[in-house]
C-alpha cells in the first residue's frame, strides 16, 4: 500500500493534491465534489480587502447619488436594513464548507492595509479555518520605492498576522524578487509556516481596436510549472517553512515533479477549470500508478529527492543551466 500522506502546515493530508484558491471553491457543492474526487485540502478563494472596500464604497456612493436634490425624488434606491457586505458572506461560506467536508479548509486573504490583514485574518481563524494562506500581491509602480522596502513590507505583514492568530499561516508570493531565497528566508523567520510558490500576476492585455487596457485571465499551462520546480528545488531544506507548488500543476506527473523538487503539496485550479473537478481523480490515479510502476512506497520518500541539495549537479539550478539551454538551442538551430 503506497503511503500518499504528506504534512503541510502541520496538517496531515491524505495526499499532496490540494485545490488552490479560485472561484471554483466559492461553491460548497464544488468543494464536496473536490473531496469526493480526492483532494486532500481546499484553499478557499481569496477574501480581497480591496474588493470589500470597493463594494462598500460603491454601494454607499450609488445609494447616495442623486439623493436629496429634488423634492419628488429624495432617494432613488431603497435603503435596506442590512447588507451582506464585507467579509460576512466569505466567513459564512467558510463555515459552511467546514461543515460540508472532512478535509481541511484553508482560508485565503488578500489585504491592502495592515489593519485589514490582521482584522480579517482573525475573522477567518474565528470562522474555523484550519489554516490561512496570505496572498500577498503588491505591484509597486512608484520609482522611489526600493526592493528592500517592499520586502520589509512583506516580512512585517507576515509577522503581524502571525502574532495575531494561532492557526498556521502560509504565504503565497510572486517570483519577482531580486533574491528570492533571501526573501523566503526572511518570511520563514517572520513565522511563515509555508511558502506557496507562486501567485500569478494579473497582467492586463491591450485591445488594439479600442486602444484600451482590458482584463485578461489566462489559465495556467504546464510549462509554468518549471519556474516553480526550480525555486522549490532551490529552497528545499533551506527554510523551515513547508513549500507548496501552485501554477502549472495539471497532471499526476506534475505532482510527482513538485514532490521531488521538495514541495509538501501541489496545488491545482486551471486543470480543474478546464477538465472539471473530477480531473482530481485522474491526476491522483496517474500519481498512484506511476508510483506503483516505479515502486515508490510513499510521497515522503520522494519529497526533495530532486532538490538542489539532492541532485548530482546542483549547478543545474543555477546560471549554468541557462547557458546550457542556450547552447543546446543554438546547436539545434545549427542542425536545422
Amino acid at each position: 500500500m503506497i503511503d500518499l500522506t504528506t504534512k503541510y502546515l502541520g496538517l496531515t493530508l491524505k495526499n499532496p493534491l490540494v485545490v488552490s484558491a479560485s472561484p471554483l471553491s466559492a461553491d460548497v457543492g464544488h468543494i464536496r465534489r473536490m473531496e469526493d474526487s480526492g483532494a486532500s485540502a481546499v484553499v478557499l478563494p481569496s477574501l480581497f480587502e480591496e474588493q470589500i472596500q470597493v463594494e462598500s464604497n460603491t454601494l454607499d456612493h450609488f445609494l447616495w447619488q442623486g439623493t436629496e436634490s429634488f423634492a419628488e425624488s429624495l432617494t432613488y434606491i431603497p435603503n435596506m436594513e442590512g447588507y451582506r457586505l464585507g467579509p460576512d458572506g466569505y466567513l459564512e461560506h467558510l463555515r459552511n464548507s467546514k461543515k460540508a467536508v472532512k478535509i481541511p479548509i484553508i482560508g485565503s486573504l488578500n489585504g491592502t492595509s495592515t489593519s485589514g490583514w490582521v482584522e480579517y485574518a482573525k475573522k477567518i481563524e474565528e470562522a474555523g479555518a484550519d489554516a490561512l494562506e496570505l496572498n500577498i500581491y503588491f505591484i509597486p509602480t512608484d520609482t522611489e520605492m526600493t526592493g528592500a522596502h517592499v520586502e520589509q513590507m512583506y516580512v512585517d505583514l507576515v509577522a503581524q498576522v502571525k502574532a495575531s492568530i494561532h492557526i498556521p499561516v502560509a504565504v503565497k508570493i510572486g517570483a519577482y524578487f531580486s533574491s528570492l531565497p533571501n526573501t523566503a528566508k526572511r518570511l520563514d523567520q517572520a513565522g511563515a509556516n509555508a511558502l506557496v510558490l507562486f501567485n500569478r500576476f494579473y497582467q492586463p492585455d491591450f485591445d488594439l481596436e479600442n486602444l484600451e487596457v482590458v482584463p485578461n485571465l489566462i489559465l495556467s499551462t504546464p510549462h509554468e510549472l518549471l519556474l516553480r520546480l526550480n525555486w522549490v528545488a532551490v529552497l528545499f531544506g533551506k527554510v523551515k517553512a513547508d513549500l507548496a507548488v501552485t501554477g502549472g500543476v495539471h497532471s499526476g506527473l506534475d505532482v510527482l515533479k513538485s514532490m521531488m523538487a521538495g514541495a509538501s503539496v501541489a496545488m491545482m485550479t486551471s486543470a480543474l477549470l478546464k477538465n472539471g473537478v473530477g480531473h482530481l481523480a485522474v491526476v491522483l490515479a496517474e500519481l498512484q500508478k506511476w508510483m506503483e510502476d516505479h515502486e515508490y512506497e510513499s510521497i515522503h520518500q520522494m519529497q526533495g529527492s530532486m532538490s538542489q541539495r539532492s541532485v548530482a549537479d546542483p549547478s543545474a539550478f543555477q546560471r549554468a543551466n541557462y547557458v546550457k539551454v542556450l547552447s543546446s538551442y543554438a546547436l539545434n538551430e545549427g542542425a536545422v
Binding site: 472596500q53 454601494l59 442623486g66 436629496e68 436634490s69 429624495l74 435596506m80 457586505l85
Partner: protein, 1191 residues
C-alpha cells in the same frame, strides 16, 4: 411605559402607525405621499410585523384608481386596509371613496394634501385635493404637525372602526409630510390600547364570505335609492362624539389631549382665526406672541372637518369673539366663498337660528385664502389677518401672502414682523444636492433631537432642476416647542457649502445681525475676503457677522469622501454653534455615521470618521476688514439682452424672488413662451468638453448623445470666420457635399452639466496618447469667458439647409438645430437625447403631449422652458395634461390637426376659383415625405395666405386661420414607463388601436424615475426598486410585442447608445408611418445606480447581452410582401450578469439577499433566452411563402 423620542418627518410618522394597524396596504407613488408607501414596502420586505404579529400585504397597483379598487376589495373581504396618496391620485380614488363610504366600511386614507393641477401642475401643498372629496362621505381629519400626524393617524384608525365611517387623514404636503421634527414615538402597546379588538372582529364579520354569503353593491332604482342613502345619517351624527371619545382615550394612553376643534389663545379673545393644517401652527405661534404683547386674539384649529360638528365648533370658541377670519388653503373659483369659510358661516348661522350660538349677535366673519401650493404662511401674514379684523370694514374674500394687483384682494403684510424666539437657534444652509448637505442636516437634526433636550425642526427646500440643484436647509432647535411652520428669514447661523453660490445667490440676506457665517472656501483665511462679491462683503460688515472658513473639499477628498463635504461641514456646524460640547458633538456625529452608514460597510464608516477627525484643524475664523473692497458683485440672473418677460418675470424666479411677483406678472391661463432656457446660464459644470479639431472625424456621435444640447456641430462658409473670436476653432468639413466648407464643434460652456457622455462616446483616440480623444474634459472656469464668446458667435452662424442633409445619417443629423436645449434634467440623462433628436428631425412641425413625470418636469417646470424655436420662430409646442391620460391627450391633438387639415382641404376646394387651381392642386397633392417637400408646402401656404389677404368670400378668413394645418404635422406623446406600462396603459392601448397618425415615445427607465425609482411593470426581473425592495420577482412586460400584436402599429425598440443609426431609422419611420407608432427607448437613469458617464456603454451591454434586443416592426413592409419584423441587433454575446452587475439596482440584491439574487438572475437569463428565441423566430418567419425577405 417609556416611549422614545425620535426625529422623523410627517410621512414616516403616519406610516409608522398605518403600517402597524393594517393588514393590506395598496400603494402607488405620488409626490409627496410616496415615502409612506416606500416605508411600508420596505418594512414588509424586512418582515416587520403589525400589532397582530403578521406582516402586512403591501401591493403596488397600476394607478391610484387601482389602489383604491384593491383597497375596496380588501376591505370587503374583511381585512384592515389603508393607502396613501395626494392630489390627482386622490381624485382618482374618488369613485371608490363614494362606494367605501356608502358601504360604511372602515378604512383610512393618509393624504399629504397637495395642489390639484389647474393652470399648472404643482407638487406642493394645499387643500384643493382634500376639498374635492368633501362629498364622498369620508370623514376628513386634519393634523397640523409631525407629532399630530402620528397621533391623528392612530385616532383615524381607531375612529374608523368605532364609527364605521372611512377616514381621510390629511396633513400638508411637504410642510408637514417632509418636515423633520422631534416626536414621541408610540409603542405597539399604545396602538393595541387604542385599536379595539372587538371592533376589528366586527369589521371582519362584515366581510364577504362564501361561508355566510351576502351581496353588496346592488343597483337600485328611483323607488328606494334615496331612502337607502339616508340610512347612514346617524353614523355621521354620531361620528364627532366618537372621535372626541377616541381623542380623550388617546389622552389617557399617551397624555396628549386633542379636540375636534382646538382653541389656542386668550380666553376672552375678540378676534379669532379659524384654520386647519400646518398654517394653524404658525397662527398658534403668532397668537401666543400677540397675546404676550397685550392683544386678545385666538386661533381655532379645525381637526375634524367632516362630519362638521356645529355643536363642537360653537362650543370651542370663546363667547367674547366679535370677529372671525376663516382661512382656506384652497380656491373654489366661482363659489360664494372657499369651503371652510362657507362651513363656518353655516355653522354660525345655524347656531344663531337654533339658539345654540354662544354669541349675542352674529360675529363679523371674513374669509381669506392663503398658502396655495405651499406658499409661505408666516406670522406676519397671520398678524395682517388679525389687523384686518380690527378694521371697521375688513376685506372679505381676501388673499394673504401674495400681491394681487389685479383684483386687489390682498392684505398688506409687514415683512419685518417676526415672532422668532431668541432662544431658538435658527440655521440656514445652502448646499448642492450632490454635496450631501441635506442628508447631513437631517442627521444633525436627529442628533439634536435625540441626544439633547432641545426641540428640533428641519425643513428642506429643493431646486426645480435635477442637475446642479441648490438645496436650502432650514434648521431650528431650542428649549421651547417649535410651531414655526415657515421658512427661516432671520437666521443666526448661515452656512454656504459651495463657494460659487456667492456670485449667484444672496446667501446672507437671511442672516440677522451678529449671526455666524460658515463658508466652504477653496481660498484660505487670508485671501477669502478678496474673493467675495460686494454684496456679501457689505452684509458681513453691516450685520457684524462672524465668518469661519474651511476648505471642506480638500478635507473631504483627503478622507476619501470625494465631493461629499457633508460630514466636514456638519462637524464645523456643531463646533461653531456650540449646541453640544465639542467632544460630545463629535461622538454624536460618529454615532450617527455608524447608524447611517454602518450597514454599508466599515470602509464607509472609516472614511467618514476620518473626515470628522480632520475637519476642525482646517476651520478658521476670518478677520473682517472695515470696508467693502471687492470690485465685482452678484451676477445678473439673465443677460440684459433677454426678452422683457424673461428679464421681468423669469429672472426674478431664477433669483429666488418669485414670491414677490404680483398677480399681474403671471399669464392668466398658464401659457408661457418657449425658448427661455437659453437665458438661464447656470454655470454648474466644473469641467466642460474641449474639442481637438485635429483628431475629430466629425461623426456627430457626441452631438447625438448630449442630453442638454450643449455640444453642436455646424458646417459653414469659411468667409464667416473673418469675424470669429480669436479662440474660435474650425477645421475643414469632412463631407463631400460641403468640400469647401468649414466645420466647428462648439460647446455651450455655461449650459453644460459636465456629464462627459460626449467624451465617453467619442470613438477617436490619439495615436500617441490613448487617453486623449477628440473631445476631452477640462476645467470650466479658465475657459468660460472665451468659450462663451465662441458659443455666441457659433449661434450666429446660419444653420445648414435641411434639404441638403440626409436625415438618416448621424453625421448629418448633428447639423440639425436642436429645439430642445439646456433642460433641468439630470447630468447624463438617458431620456433627453431622444427628445432632442425628435426636435431636430421634426421639431418645427411637432405638437407634443407629455405625460407627467421626469420629462414633463425638465420639459415644463418653471422658471425656464427648454423647448426652443428656430430662426423662423417655429418649434415644438408642448403641453402636459395628466399622468394617466397622455396618449388620449396627444390623440386629441392629432384629431384636431386632422380636422383642421380636412377643413382646410375642403375650403381649398370651395375657394379654388379665388386661389387659383394650380396652387390649390399643389397644396392638396403636396409630397411632404421629405424636407424639400415640406419646405415647398410652407411656401405654398405662404402664397395661399397672401392670396387670401383682404378676400371677403365665405371661408377665406377661416382658410387663413387653418392654412398652416396643410403643412404636415408630427404629433407625439412623450412619457415614461410608469405612464405607458402602468397608469396610462389602457389609454395608450386604445390610442394604438385607433389607427391614427400619432407617435408615442416611451422613455423607458424601468422605474418611476421622477418620484424616486418605484417599480413599474417595465422594471426588469431581479432589479431592486422601491416597492420591489426584495428584487422584482416577475419579468418585464413586453410592451412592444403587445403593440405588435395589432399588426397595424409601427413599433421600434431602440437604445441610442447601442445603435444610433437604428434609433434614427426608427424615428424617421415612425414619423413617416401613417398610423400609430410606438418607440420604446432604453433610457439609462440615475435610479439605476451607476455613473451615468457609462450610460452608453451600459446600453451597449444591454443589447449585447440580449436583454434589450433592437428591433423595428413596420406594417408598411407587409404591403410590400415583406416581413414587417426586423431584428436589428445580434444574438446575445455577453453574459447577462456582465450587463446587470454594473448597476447598483441589481448588485444591491446580491448584498441584501444573495440567494434571491442568484435565483432571479437565473430566471432573468431564461427570460433573455426565451425572448431572443421568440424574436428570432418572428424575424425569420417567411412571408408570401418565401423566407428571402427576412433578415
Amino acid at each position: 411605559m417609556t416611549r422614545s423620542k425620535i426625529t422623523i418627518d410627517g410621512n414616516e410618522a403616519a406610516a409608522r402607525v398605518a403600517y402597524r394597524v393594517s393588514e393590506v396596504i395598496a400603494i402607488y407613488p405620488i409626490t409627496p405621499s410616496s415615502p409612506m408607501g416606500e416605508w411600508s414596502d420596505q418594512w414588509s420586505s424586512e418582515v416587520k410585523p403589525n400589532i397582530w404579529g403578521t406582516v402586512p400585504n403591501v401591493m403596488e397597483m397600476q394607478s391610484e384608481g387601482g389602489a383604491a379598487g384593491a383597497l375596496h376589495g380588501a376591505l370587503q373581504a374583511g381585512s384592515l386596509g389603508t393607502t396613501f396618496t395626494a392630489s390627482q391620485g386622490l381624485l382618482l380614488m374618488i369613485p371608490n371613496m363614494f362606494k367605501i363610504a356608502g358601504e360604511l366600511t372602515s378604512t383610512v386614507l393618509h393624504v399629504t394634501a397637495r395642489t390639484v393641477a389647474a393652470h399648472a401642475l404643482s407638487i406642493f401643498g394645499d387643500h384643493s385635493d382634500v376639498m374635492a372629496t368633501r362629498s364622498t362621505g369620508f370623514a376628513l381629519l386634519a393634523s397640523n404637525s409631525v407629532q399630530e400626524v402620528m397621533d391623528f393617524a392612530l385616532i383615524s384608525h381607531a375612529a374608523t372602526l368605532a364609527s364605521r365611517l372611512p377616514f381621510l387623514h390629511f396633513f400638508d404636503g411637504f410642510r408637514t409630510s417632509h418636515e423633520v421634527g422631534k416626536v414621541e414615538d408610540m409603542t405597539d402597546d399604545d396602538l393595541r390600547a387604542m385599536i379595539d379588538s372587538s371592533l376589528v372582529e366586527a369589521h371582519r364579520k362584515r366581510a364577504l364570505s362564501p361561508d355566510h354569503p351576502v351581496l353588496r353593491g346592488t343597483a337600485q332604482n328611483p323607488d328606494v335609492y334615496f331612502q337607502a342613502r339616508e340610512t347612514a345619517n346617524s353614523y355621521y351624527t354620531d361620528c364627532p362624539g366618537i372621535v372626541q371619545g377616541i381623542m380623550d382615550k388617546l389622552a389617557t394612553v399617551i397624555g396628549r389631549q386633542y379636540h375636534l376643534f382646538d382653541y389656542e389663545g386668550a380666553p376672552d379673545a375678540e378676534r379669532v382665526i379659524v384654520i386647519m393644517g400646518s398654517g394653524a401652527e404658525a397662527a398658534h405661534e403668532t397668537v401666543q406672541y400677540l397675546n404676550a404683547h397685550g392683544e386678545k386674539v385666538g386661533v381655532l384649529k379645525v381637526h375634524l372637518y367632516r362630519p362638521f360638528s356645529i355643536e363642537h365648533f360653537l362650543a370651542a370658541l370663546p363667547k367674547t369673539v366679535k370677529s372671525l377670519a376663516v382661512l382656506d388653503r384652497t380656491k373654489e373659483s366661482g363659489s360664494t366663498g372657499d369651503p371652510l369659510y362657507i362651513d363656518v358661516i353655516t355653522a354660525l348661522s345655524e347656531g344663531m337660528t337654533t339658539g345654540k350660538s354662544p354669541f349675542a349677535s352674529f360675529p363679523k366673519v371674513i374669509g381669506g385664502r392663503y398658502g396655495l401650493s405651499s406658499k409661505e404662511f408666516t406670522p406676519a401674514m397671520v398678524k395682517a389677518v388679525f389687523d384686518e379684523l380690527l378694521k371697521p370694514k375688513p376685506l372679505n374674500h381676501f388673499v394673504v401672502g401674495i400681491v394681487d394687483d389685479v383684483t386687489h384682494t390682498s392684505l398688506e403684510v409687514d415683512p419685518t414682523f417676526s415672532t422668532e424666539d431668541p432662544k431658538t437657534v435658527r440655521a440656514v444652509f445652502y448646499g448642492l444636492g450632490s454635496d450631501g448637505t441635506v442628508g447631513a442636516n437631517k442627521n444633525s437634526i436627529k442628533i439634536i433631537g435625540e441626544d439633547t433636550d432641545n426641540y428640533a425642526q428641519g425643513y428642506f427646500v429643493y431646486d426645480s432642476k435635477k442637475s446642479g440643484s441648490v438645496t436650502i436647509s432650514h434648521l431650528r432647535f431650542g428649549p421651547k416647542p417649535i410651531h414655526s411652520t415657515y421658512l427661516i428669514s432671520k437666521a443666526n447661523f448661515v452656512a454656504c457649502h459651495q463657494f460659487s453660490f456667492l456670485e449667484r445667490l444672496d446667501v446672507l440676506k437671511v442672516a440677522e445681525p451678529g449671526a455666524t457665517f460658515l463658508l466652504n472656501s477653496p481660498y484660505g483665511v487670508e485671501e477669502v475676503w478678496g474673493m467675495m462679491p460686494r454684496t456679501t462683503q457689505r452684509e458681513i460688515i453691516e450685520k457684524k457677522l462672524r465668518v469661519f472658513v474651511i476648505d471642506a473639499v480638500k478635507v473631504a477628498k483627503e478622507a476619501g469622501m470625494g465631493g461629499r463635504i457633508n460630514t466636514v461641514m456638519q462637524t464645523c456646524f456643531f463646533a461653531i454653534s456650540g449646541v453640544l460640547p465639542r467632544e460630545e458633538a463629535i461622538a454624536a456625529i460618529k454615532h450617527a455615521i455608524e447608524k447611517t452608514y454602518g450597514r454599508r460597510g466599515e470602509a464607509v464608516v472609516k472614511k467618514n470618521f476620518a473626515a470628522v477627525d480632520a475637519s476642525l484643524d482646517h476651520l478658521h475664523e476670518v478677520k473682517i476688514p472695515a470696508e467693502v473692497t471687492s470690485t465685482f458683485d452678484l451676477r445678473p440672473a439673465v443677460p440684459a439682452q433677454a426678452p422683457a418677460f424673461v428679464r421681468d418675470v423669469l429672472a426674478r424666479i431664477i433669483e429666488g424672488d418669485g414670491d414677490s411677483l404680483p398677480v399681474s406678472a403671471m399669464p392668466i391661463d398658464g401659457t408661457f413662451p418657449t425658448a427661455t432656457a437659453q437665458w438661464e446660464k447656470r454655470n454648474i459644470a466644473l469641467e466642460i468638453p474641449v474639442w481637438d479639431e485635429t483628431l475629430c472625424i466629425q461623426c456627430g456621435k457626441c452631438v447625438m448623445v448630449c442630453p442638454h444640447a450643449v455640444i453642436r456641430g455646424k458646417v459653414y462658409d469659411p468667409a464667416l470666420l473673418e469675424k470669429a473670436p480669436a479662440t474660435f476653432k474650425s477645421t475643414a468639413a469632412r463631407w463631400k457635399e460641403f468640400k469647401e466648407f468649414k466645420y466647428t464643434l462648439q460647446v455651450a460652456p455655461e449650459d453644460c452639466t459636465a456629464c462627459a457622455l460626449c467624451v465617453e462616446i467619442c470613438p477617436v483616440k490619439s495615436k500617441s496618447e490613448a487617453k486623449h480623444k477628440a473631445i476631452n474634459m477640462a476645467d470650466q472656469i479658465p475657459l468660460r469667458e472665451a468659450e462663451s464668446k465662441n458659443w455666441d458667435f457659433f449661434l450666429e452662424i446660419p444653420e445648414a439647409d435641411r434639404r441638403t442633409l440626409s436625415m438618416g445619417q448621424v453625421k448629418d443629423v448633428q447639423l440639425l438645430q436642436p429645439l430642445f436645449e439646456f433642460s433641468g434634467a439630470c447630468a447624463g440623462c438617458g431620456e433627453t437625447p431622444y427628445i432632442k433628436l425628435m426636435t431636430q428631425l421634426f421639431g418645427d412641425r411637432a405638437l407634443i403631449g407629455n405625460a407627467t413625470g421626469c420629462s414633463s418636469i425638465y420639459g415644463g417646470n418653471l422658471p425656464t422652458t427648454p423647448y426652443a424655436v428656430n430662426r423662423e420662430g417655429r418649434g415644438p409646442t408642448w403641453s402636459n395634461s395628466l399622468f394617466e391620460d397622455n396618449a388620449e391627450f396627444a390623440l386629441g391633438m392629432r384629431l384636431a390637426v386632422d380636422q383642421q387639415t380636412q377643413y382646410a382641404k375642403e375650403l381649398l376646394h370651395r375657394l379654388s376659383a379665388t386661389i387659383g387651381d394650380e396652387l390649390v392642386q399643389g397644396l392638396l397633392n403636396a409630397d411632404q415625405s421629405h424636407e424639400a417637400g415640406i419646405l415647398e408646402q410652407r411656401e405654398r401656404v405662404k402664397a395661399l395666405k397672401a392670396r387670401l389677404t383682404g378676400r371677403t368670400e365665405l371661408g377665406a378668413r377661416d382658410l387663413t386661420n387653418v392654412a398652416e394645418a396643410l403643412v404636415k404635422k408630427s404629433v407625439w406623446a412623450f412619457g415614461g414607463d410608469g405612464w405607458a406600462y402602468d397608469i396610462g396603459y389602457g389609454g395608450l392601448d386604445h390610442v394604438l388601436a385607433s389607427g391614427r397618425n400619432i407617435n408615442v415615445l416611451v422613455l423607458d427607465t424601468e422605474v418611476y424615475s421622477n418620484t424616486g425609482g418605484q417599480m413599474s411593470k417595465a422594471t426588469p426581473r431581479g432589479a431592486v426598486a422601491k416597492f420591489a425592495a426584495g428584487g422584482k420577482p416577475r419579468a418585464k412586460k413586453d410592451l412592444g410585442m403587445m403593440a405588435v400584436a395589432y399588426g397595424s402599429v409601427y413599433v421600434a425598440q431602440v437604445a441610442m447608445g447601442a445603435g444610433d443609426m437604428q434609433t434614427l431609422k426608427a424615428f424617421n419611420e415612425a414619423d413617416a408611418y401613417d398610423g400609430p407608432s410606438l418607440i420604446i427607448a432604453y433610457s439609462h437613469c440615475i435610479a439605476h445606480g451607476y455613473d451615468l458617464v457609462h450610460g452608453c456603454d451600459q446600453q451597449k451591454a444591454a443589447v449585447q447581452s440580449g436583454y434589450w434586443p433592437l428591433y423595428r416592426y413596420n406594417p408598411d413592409l407587409l404591403k410590400l410582401g415583406k416581413n414587417p419584423f426586423q431584428l436589428d441587433s445580434r444574438p446575445p454575446s455577453l453574459p447577462l450578469e456582465k450587463y446587470i452587475y454594473n448597476e447598483t439596482r441589481y448588485t444591491m440584491l446580491t448584498h441584501s439577499d444573495p440567494e434571491a439574487a442568484k435565483h432571479l438572475l437565473k430566471l432573468a437569463e431564461e427570460d433573455v433566452h426565451n425572448r431572443w428565441r421568440d424574436y428570432q423566430n418572428l424575424a425569420a418567419m417567411p412571408m408570401n411563402g418565401g423566407a428571402k425577405e427576412t433578415k
